[in-house]
């Protein structure tokens, strides 16, 4: 385990601690942690097409988020993992020689950044719930932040397709 893995693990533990009242946040942290662990372990084994395996993990998590999301912040995490999947596809295409290759460091940095963004969002929602989203939203000084928190905690607008038609 290197320093980046360790810092991400600490970040995940802090985010989980901040959102201990929200079981859905804990589920998505666990999902993201599984996604990350499988991708990193496969990549460390040195087997070919690690980006494809990482992409499959991202796609699975994306589908779980799409079908299981109830609030808007969960759909934001879904968008983040869509970007992660797109990065994996572009890196795979670069490895196959379809498009120009980007460096391994750039690829890993983008994925780390996306994981951190997801953890920050989950942790932020946990803090908002801990403080009390309505009280944050109602506080005069909260302003734009309060509206953002209320918006993120509101139910999703569109239902998943399997519940329609």
């Amino acid at each position: 385990m290197n320093i980046w893995n360790l810092s991400l693990l600490i970040g995940a533990v802090i985010a989980a601690g901040l959102s201990y009242r929200n079981p859905r946040a804990l589920i998505w942290i666990l999902g993201a942690a599984l996604d990350y662990t499988v991708s990193v372990v496969y990549w460390r084994t040195g087997l070919p097409y690690a980006e494809a395996v990482a992409g499959m993990c991202d796609a699975t998590l994306c589908l779980c988020l799409y079908f299981g999301a109830r609030e808007r912040w969960e759909l934001v995490i879904y968008r983040l993992f869509q970007v992660s999947l797109a990065v994996n596809i572009f890196f795979l295409a670069g490895n196959l020689g379809i498009i120009p290759m980007v460096s391994q460091d750039t690829y890993a940095s983008i994925l780390e950044l996306l994981n951190w963004l997801a953890l920050l969002l989950i942790g932020g929602v946990g803090v908002a719930q801990w403080v009390g989203a309505p009280s944050v939203a109602a506080h005069r000084s909260a302003g734009r932040l309060g509206r953002a928190v209320r918006s993120l905690r509101s139910p999703r607008k569109t239902r998943p397709f399997h519940q329609v038609g």
């Binding site: 589908l63 799409y66 397709f161 038609g165």
Partner: protein, 96 residues
């Protein structure tokens, strides 16, 4: 196993992978739309992946067969979605 059967299996795998990617990036709105778009994209991936691979001058390796089938399937999913929305919005001009 027959070489043709293996080629079809590779293309089918690529088409299904492309369909799953398309489902992640642009989920349909209803169940019937999901069924029609899935069938359309997988069939397009099976039928037109060779043409796409030749058009893009990709080499004849199994990776490129999978990639071309996935790309064809992904594109056909988006095209099918765009076409159904355009057709649904189109209203016939008021004739005389």
């Amino acid at each position: 196993m027959d070489t043709d059967a293996i080629a079809i299996l590779i293309k089918a795998g690529g088409s299904i992978a492309g369909g799953v990617l398309a489902l992640v990036f642009q989920p349909p709105k209803t169940r019937p739309e999901f069924v029609t778009r899935s069938i359309f994209s997988v069939v397009c991936g099976l039928l037109f992946s060779d043409a796409v691979k030749d058009y893009l001058h990709w080499p004849d390796t199994w990776q490129m067969f999978v990639a071309s089938a996935a790309l064809t399937s992904l594109l056909s999913w988006f095209i099918m979605g765009a076409a159904t929305r355009i057709i649904a919005r189109w209203t016939p001009p008021k004739g005389d």
